[in-house]
């Protein structure tokens, strides 16, 4: 469904993505994992074309068989990709309802929009309760639900979420993951960026590991879970004394 090939993205003179490639199959939940600064957010922003106009510098991105790496963000949204950014980014002075409406900005079918609004308010009862409140006054968890609900309003085929569990309690994190799973069961393909590797591996069908702007591992979660490196550095389960192991891991990762 989505095919990223040899993407290079630069921030002025800094290269953030060193030619990454991956593919996402329709209907899957795919996790993109990696430590801070690995380039996960940059990858999503590159796909959405939110960076400078001349980025990605190299490589191609195809969605449903069409090149999208030189399209406008607006066209990409229309094609069916929706993005829940890191830190929610709701419109703080718009009401919850107005935020949800903005999610449907690219659509014209009034009846369909109204149906989807009803559906989302049903799925997120807390948003229904606060529909006329300013979004800036919602709690972090409520804002995350709003950001997800808003992103669903464009009827995406692919939903990309950047660290949806950021700053949420374990209980709420679990709720968000359950919601993501439900959305996936309704037929939406999901690309999930997470720091919470444990949870992400539990809910995803496939996972990519990123380091320093490269994809260093790609495998099924059940295999990654049993991998010693992953256990030690992402799940925090030590199997040998660390510093040495860490150095060995860095070396391995760098020379791929």
């Amino acid at each position: 469904m989505l095919a990223v090939k040899n993407i290079e993205t630069w921030y002025d003179l800094i290269r953030a993505l060193h030619g990454i490639s991956f593919e996402i199959q329709q209907g899957a939940i795919v996790a993109l994992l990696g430590s801070n600064g690995a380039g996960k957010t940059t990858t999503l922003k590159t796909i959405m074309r939110l960076l400078d106009d001349d980025q990605p510098e190299k490589g191609t991105i195809e969605f449903l068989g069409k090149r999208i790496d030189r399209m406008d963000t607006e066209e990409i949204v229309r094609m069916g990709i929706s993005y829940v950014p890191e830190g929610r980014e709701v419109f703080p002075e718009l009401t919850v309802m107005e935020n949800i409406l903005m999610g449907a900005y690219t659509r014209k079918d009034r009846k369909g929009i109204q149906e989807d609004i009803d559906g989302i308010l049903k799925q997120f009862p807390i948003l229904d309760e606060r529909r006329n409140q300013q979004a800036g006054h919602l709690s972090g968890g409520e804002q995350q639900m709003l950001a997800i609900g808003r992103a669903l309003m464009s009827r995406p085929k692919l939903l990309m979420l950047d660290e949806p569990s950021l700053g949420l309690s374990p209980l709420l994190t679990k709720e968000i993951f359950t919601i993501i799973q439900k959305i996936n069961q309704q037929g939406v393909t999901i690309l999930l960026v997470e720091q919470n590797v444990n949870m992400a591996l539990k809910y995803s069908h496939y996972a990519f590991l990123m380091e320093n702007g490269r994809i260093v591992r790609a495998d099924k979660p059940e295999i990654l879970r049993e991998d010693d490196d992953v256990k030690e550095f992402y799940l925090g389960i030590a199997t040998e004394t660390s510093i040495k192991g860490y150095k060995r891991y860095r070396r391995k990762v760098r020379f791929r």
């Binding site: 703080p92 718009l94 800036g136």
Partner: protein
């Protein structure tokens, strides 16, 4: 006498308010005080003057034609001056608008000359209607009040209920999130400048009808409208209009009692208010995310 002073003050204040709204709309979206605002209104007024006196067409044709011109002018300035600036700082943007101001002023001086002209406005300042015993107000004042109310109600409805209006507010609050929604933010900027230029041009024509028309005539009204907008908080549109009304009333009453103080009294009051409430009287507490 008191009623006269009050009504006149409110009328001129409504003009400040309208012009302040033009400034505030751009400030909210582009994060910059548009110092070319006065001159944009000035050029539009000159275009109206030109259409009226050179082509000799009736006012009801000249007025809409000028409105169209003002809209195009606003979009052109955004497109030629603001859009090419990549990741500009606030100071950079400020300089850009100052550059646009100089350019427009030079252009007007070159095309229409520096001598003062009478602007043949539809509504006269001298023709009055008696609305109550002993209380006569002129056509100009009636026009100002009518247009201010129409514009304010339209703006309210537009920003509150229309999809584009909500999208404009969304863009003001978070450009990146707006892009993610599929909002064409460049178009939003363009429309913002068009709206602002339109409102500014209407207010400028009212100013011109009260004074004279020359390339400098909007300098002082701009400063006062700007001050009124700051007084009202710059981010709340009704606040800006109320700021304008307060400004007009203060100016008119003091001007009557102490004519020699008229030009500065309003500024003194504003400085006093700003020292007590730096964000203006009606500013919202929300701070824009960077």
């Amino acid at each position: 006498m008191f009623e006269m002073l009050l009504i006149e003050g409110l009328a001129i204040g409504a003009c400040y308010g309208l012009f302040g709204v033009a400034v505030a709309i751009i400030y909210k979206t582009s994060d910059v005080i548009n110092f070319a605002q006065g001159e944009m209104g000035m050029v539009a007024t000159f275009v109206a003057y030109h259409i009226l006196t050179v082509y000799n067409v009736p006012f009801w044709i000249a007025f809409p034609a000028t409105m169209v011109f003002a809209i195009l002018l606003g979009m052109a300035i955004e497109f030629c001056f603001l859009r090419p600036a990549k990741d500009p700082t606030v100071l950079g943007l400020l300089i850009i608008t100052l550059g646009a101001e100089m350019l427009l002023m030079g252009l007007a001086g070159w095309k229409w000359g520096a001598e003062q002209k009478d602007f043949p406005f539809l509504l006269s300042v001298t023709k009055t209607h008696e609305i109550a015993p002993d209380l006569a107000i002129n056509e100009w004042t009636i026009g100002v009040f009518t247009l201010t109310i129409i514009i304010m109600v339209s703006l309210f409805l537009f920003f509150r209920y229309s999809k584009l209006g909500i999208a404009m507010r969304a863009t003001q609050q978070n450009v990146n999130a707006a892009k993610i929604m599929g909002i064409k933010v460049e178009r939003v900027f363009s429309i913002t400048w068009a709206m602002s230029s339109l409102i500014g041009a209407i207010a400028a024509m009212f100013f011109a009808a009260r004074s004279v028309l020359d390339p400098n005539f909007m300098m002082e009204p701009f400063m006062r409208a700007f001050a009124a907008a700051v007084l009202g908080g710059l981010t709340s549109i009704p606040g800006v209009v109320i700021g304008g009304l307060i400004m007009g009333i203060i100016e008119n009453f003091f001007g009557y009692a102490w004519p020699e103080w008229k030009p500065i009294v309003a500024f003194v009051v504003i400085i006093l208010i700003i020292t007590v409430r730096p964000s203006g009287l009606f500013a919202k507490h929300y701070i824009k995310k960077v």
